[in-house]
Symmetry: C2
Amino acid sequence: MLNAATVLKTNAVVFAALGDATRLSLLAKLTEGEPQSIARLTSGTRLTRQGVTKHLRVLEDAGVVRSIRVGRESQFALEPKPIEDVRLYLEHVSRQWGQALMRLKTMIESETA
Amino acid sequence: MLNAATVLKTNAVVFAALGDATRLSLLAKLTEGEPQSIARLTSGTRLTRQGVTKHLRVLEDAGVVRSIRVGRESQFALEPKPIEDVRLYLEHVSRQWGQALMRLKTMIESETA
DNA sequence: AAAGTATGCAACCAATTAGTTGCGTATATC
DNA sequence: GATATACGCAACTAATTGGTTGCATACTTT
């Protein structure tokens, strides 16, 4: 499905995943490069491992993060695609807005002329 | 406060506001330019006026939208600054990630050399 | 001034979320 | 093989969210 509603929903899920300070800092840790285990991602936070796990699942369900089990630990890594997608979406919104302002401005000018 | 935690929190609030399909379509309507009343923003949705109002308050609390009372209706308009801010934040994340990948790559190359 | 229109406020409800704890299981290590 | 480490699953709680309805209030229009 590529209809508008589906696109909105997909973007909304990603935004919602980013809509939490804890998850944003997990993301920040993951932008440092190497995949990291849940235990490692938990250290330094005030949360339980399970708490962090839940946040990671939210990120994973949104596709923002990807995990593979290696040995006894599961390594999480950032998945750049969805983030890039919503970034482009915001860029589109900004552009739309800018153009709309331009139109309004010229409309007003032609009226007052 | 400009400390990192505060920045994260601020961005998280904006992302959370964007994290709902209904709110994203409200935003889309507002990018068309002219400020719009609640009644107008409600028409075309399957929600109650009050439902839409609640979503608008969420957007307003996040600073993504601004409202002024004019006559008996309150006009909502898009406020581009916070959106631009989170867009830049995502750009920053992408860049960090890209650089980290580069570092890892050259590390691996130097190891296997 | 009466009727219609646009909104605000409050209460309420169902569903989701953020977080914990407890327990079981798989993998490493000694 | 025993111990320690890293994790998954399930249940539970408190708070938040998305949505409704009912009613009061403010502005417009005739």
